[in-house]
Assembly symmetry: C2
Homo-oligomer: 247 residues x 2
DNA sequence: TTTTCGTCGACTGCCTACAGCATACCGTCC
DNA sequence: GGACGGTATGCTGTAGGCAGTCGACGAAAA
């Protein structure tokens, strides 16, 4: 047997490459943002991030640019990078787009997902329900993302899946702090969705997904109304207080 | 009158900043790709591009990474950047996504576009028809893009518009070489679309836009079947022929 | 002849250094 | 007292340079 055949079969054993620094930095900054260690509107100084992460400015620059492309930070030429400030309006629009993309994904998934796909969905769903029942919120949130990602993947449209994935990441940022509410209801809807997909009923799958994401959206908007955030009214460049020249 | 007020009113007069080199390089490379001076699958060597454009490697690197995020080039870590090879299947999926996004945009535009919006649409449409009648294909293609962009903008959903714009750019790349066919029929459909938007009939606008983009898609697929492209079967790293050490 | 290993060349990834610019501070003039 | 211009400071944007790594080629072994 040729090694390449083996590799083809067990392709899952990809070596976790030490990845480029740039990618590591991207993930690190995303983590800093979602965990609110970097606050919306905050000026991101390249040299500070570089020192904080123990790398040079170059990987940081490249990471910031990629993050800008994905909507995490805003790049003002000559001024620098600022953590994006998620408007209520923008969040609403983003959730609307997510609804659109995922609804279509569900419709297509119902038409294209085979037995294997459905089995994977069931598995994820079971684990999600277990996580909720044991109050493991973090796992539940992660599994929720995985399940939605799998649905888009099963749509058979890679471009659609990629776009949906991008949108989902941003949604997750806005959504995470207030997502811990819906709990079990969400997973009941997931189960119904999988039933529809298994039955090959695209219309029903689409309808369920639409209602599902709209529920999420409504829950988010409701949460936000009680807890508005405006931490940086002036996204102005920060200036370090005059160093008092100790000496 | 305060100067800031003036600036607020005539915000269009933003100084065309000499933009960062990175942005200039991005546009230059995009231009090189759509004009087929850089062929699909071709290995993009940073130093060569840098010399060609008269800049250093850094802006080129950053540009390539941004272009990778938008699907123009593929980045293989440790190997470099390659011009993306548009599969027939992928083009189909991309066009499907475009249909989805623009259909929704049309629906929303019908609900949100005011008189001013409709007037702008009419103006663009008139200019487009004029361009077709005078066989000015380049203008017609450009105006077509502008009109679609305006529809998405009038949807009132900025996120949706941004996404649609990204997708449209890629579509334009795949599509441009074969786009010069549809001509007048396309602009008749545009007119009907604007009528629906003006009437505030979201359902009708969506239906027209769906059929419109599906026509485009069909026309594209038809063209492609007659003219398949596979310029780089092995997207392998290019190797410069051994320099014969003259001397 | 086919396979395997060693070597070479070239390119990427990263770091460091420099120039330009935007902003904030502060003394001066009206 | 308020506005204006000069000056200082920190940051970004860009360039150049070095080490690591990947692929290709060629020689040696089976």
């Amino acid at each position: 047997m040729l090694l390449s055949d083996q590799a083809g079969q067990a392709a899952a054993t990809k070596i976790p490459r030490p990845a480029t620094l740039r990618e590591s930095v991207i993930e690190a900054i995303q983590e800093l943002i979602v965990s609110s260690q970097l606050k919306p509107g905050q000026h991101l100084v390249e040299s500070e991030l570089a020192e904080l992460l123990g790398v040079s400015r170059q990987p940081v620059r490249e990471a910031l640019q990629q993050l800008s492309g994905e909507g995490w930070v805003d790049l003002h030429p000559g001024q620098g990078a600022f953590v994006h400030v998620p408007t209520l309006e923008e969040a609403d629009q983003l959730l609307a787009v997510r609804t659109l993309l995922e609804t279509e994904s569900a419709r297509l998934a119902a038409e294209h997902a085979g037995e294997g796909g459905v089995r994977q969905l069931r598995s994820l769903c079971a684990r999600g329900i277990a996580a909720v029942q044991s109050d493991d919120v973090d796992s539940a949130v992660a599994l929720n993302s995985e399940l939605h990602a799998l649905v888009t993947a099963l749509s058979g449209n890679a471009v659609l899946a990629e776009l949906a994935s991008q949108v989902a990441r941003r949604v997750r940022w806005y959504h995470t702090p207030v997502a811990r509410q819906r709990g079990m209801a969400s997973w009941d809807e997931h189960t119904a969705l999988i039933d529809a997909i298994e039955a090959g009923d695209g219309q029903r799958a689409a309808r369920i997904m639409r209602e599902h994401t709209e529920h999420t959206r409504a829950s988010y908007m409701e949460q936000r109304e009680n807890d508005p955030v405006e931490p940086a009214p002036k996204p102005v460049r920060r200036r370090r207080p005059r160093t008092p020249q100790a000496g």
